[in-house]
């Protein structure tokens, strides 16, 4: 069974304190791994797609990386506006565009 596990469940950082969120996956064949940001009461907002091990993508203070077993979302010098829940999802080969989601990491960045 395809599984996606995110850790930690919750993370509290001070402004400027860099850290990483983890997404580990067990799938039969990976077509793509997606990162989303979700603010309270809103729909997920797309951040990145990674397709193969070794791939990296960056956007402002966020950098996503991918290995054969996991992905990391690195947050460099976070600001309070980075506070949100970060969701990881995988598309598995042969599942026709369906995504399997992890339960997310709730990030709080304080002053």
């Amino acid at each position: 069974e395809d599984q996606v596990t995110q850790s930690p469940e919750a993370l509290r950082l001070q402004e400027g304190e860099s850290s990483s969120l983890n997404c580990s996956y067990t799938v039969s064949g990976l077509r793509g791994l997606f990162w989303y940001r979700q603010d309270p009461g809103k729909g997920p907002e797309f951040l990145f797609t990674l397709y193969s091990a070794g791939e990296e993508k960056e956007k402002e203070r966020l950098k996503a990386t991918l290995t054969k077993k996991e992905s990391f979302l690195h947050i460099t010098a976070p600001k309070p506006e980075d506070s949100a829940t970060y969701l990881c999802a995988v598309e598995v080969i042969g599942t026709a565009s369906k995504l399997t989601f992890g339960t997310g990491t709730r990030l709080q960045v304080t002053l």
């Binding site: 077509r31 997920p44 797309f46 999802a89 026709a96 565009s97 369906k98 989601f101 339960t103």
Partner: protein, 114 residues
């Protein structure tokens, strides 16, 4: 910019009522999806559709049905709402252009069934 809209942000219904949730996308996407999101369980796929009048069951279809009469519109129907269907409902769409296409989400509908 991709835009996915959902008919209501908040809904309160009574047990046994028939409930319609509507989703519209403006990017001519072939794929459309309905999820529900519950604390600790993440997003779970209810139904999806690859084309007009086509539908496929997701992981938790029981108690739900869907309708896709036009390419841009995908409706989720709760035939007889129950309290365990209280949840956040999210619609998404994606292109069928290739593998690993991004799903874009609407703002969500928070449904409370009393």
């Amino acid at each position: 910019d991709v835009k996915v809209t959902q008919s209501s942000r908040y809904l309160v219904k009574r047990t046994g009522e028939k409930v319609f949730l509507e989703c519209v996308q403006d990017m001519d996407h072939e794929n459309m999806f309905w999820y529900r999101q519950d604390p600790g369980l993440g997003l779970r796929l209810i139904y999806f559709s690859y084309d007009v009048k086509m539908k496929e069951k997701g992981d938790i279809p029981e108690g739900y049905s869907v309708s896709r009469e036009k390419k841009e519109r995908f409706s989720l129907i709760l035939e007889s709402a129950s309290t365990n269907q209280t949840s956040m409902y999210l619609c998404a769409s994606s292109s069928l252009a290739g593998a690993g296409e991004t799903q874009y989400f609407g703002p969500g509908t928070r449904l409370l069934v009393l």
